[in-house]
Amino acid sequence: MKPAVLLVGADKGGVGKTTIARTLLDYMAARNVLARAFDAEYPRGALKRFHPSVTDVIDITAVPDQMKMLDTLTTSERRVSIVDIRAGQLSNTLRAFTDIGFFDAVRSGEFKFCLFHILGPSVASLEEIADVMPYSGGRNYFAVKNFINETSFFEWDPAVYDSYFKKAKGAVEMNIPKLNEMAYEQVDLAGVPFSTFIKNKNAQGHIANNSLVLRGYVRTWLKHVFDEFDRVGLIERLTDE
């Protein structure tokens, strides 16, 4: 398969980018696709904490770090690179990628590219769609509504929401369902991938002492998230020639 870059970003913090990036890493592993991750929350990465062995923390505005990521796309055996963009840096990152000529390479079929745009609850967030979507060439653009915690309510008027989406032709909507808060916190404390928590293992691979109930909640939730990735045909989008 061709090397693929999956950008996860939002122009606002606290909408759950890292959570989505984590589920993507779990999903790729579950579908036997080797993936690596770049955590652009330089200097301290949240993603790195959960997936230390496959994650590099980078400063996406620094040229050496851009090289570290993009120049290794074709050589890395891990064909999928998941990039967790720092809050507010999505537009900047997309511009930088344009300057580098990354999107030309995507158009010429050298790389695959998916953009996961995590929407915030405000209408301003919908306006970003028009700014951000053209970079993806209109194809693999995912507008993600994250319901993982109750704080992420959406204040859009349905008519307004529809009008934004009409303009964004080809955009794929995705919903990340709610996860029980206590379960979410426990995984956070454990500092391991969701799938590891479910298997009742700790970061060293030893048997952990996670609650059966909370593991159950995480298992069911993660399955729903995977179903959502399946529904939009993520793997097919990455593997078709």
């Binding site: 029980n180 206590m182 379960a183 002492n209 609650s211 059966l212 109930v213 909370l214 593991r215 159950g216 909640y217 298992r219 069911t220």
Partner: protein, 260 residues
Amino acid sequence: MPEKKYSIIVASPRARTGKTLLARLVVEHFVLSGVPHVIFDTDAVDKKLAGYFPEKTVVVDFDRVPDQMKLFDTLGSPVATTQVVDLTHRSFRKFFKLMREIDYVNEAKASGFEPVVLFIPDTEADSYEQGMEIREWLRGVGFALVRNEAVGEPSREALRNLSFAAFVSNMPRLTLTRLDPFFYSAIADPKFSLSEFMRRSLMRESPSPVIAEQLSLAYMSREARSGITAWAQAAFSEIRRVLREVEIRTDLLSHDRPNA
């Protein structure tokens, strides 16, 4: 091989079908057979079962996640013992849905527990349908249909229902005979210990010296004593028989499926 531990769930989609009475009988059965156990009363409002066994009952409010953990997470503990769960009809669906979602059955079996659902329908077809749905959710779990004579005969509509037919044709059945209401009022007293009563009655011990807690016994007629004894003996032997039957069936099932 260590003694098999049970996780017995007494459940009904309806109120007033005899859940607490059956749960109480199951507990007393374990008391008399010397099986260590713990009790969960999921009716955080009435706590009826907890009233009979205050010192060994955990009252859980199933709407709260920490309480769900108290109940289901007990399994992993090395000191875990047989559990008896009196499931309130208010949490009926929620409980089994969660049980399915957290894959309780496989976890329980992996820790040496045999989950058994003692399902009590009422007289209507709908309760059989709900029971059948739960049964579908929990494949591989011991399931017994409880016929509580005090609840009454299935309605004509129920008799024609497919779920009813499925239940009656291929499931172990536990019959709870009707106890005379007058005798029932004697054992309904939270201070009345059935196991203690049975021990004394089987050893032909007179109720004296009278213990304060067993005061009502002293005033019980010979007829009442023998009526209750016969009723309880029948119930205990039904419980024993059904647990054995359920175990044989689930063993057969797990042999059928090598990867189970």
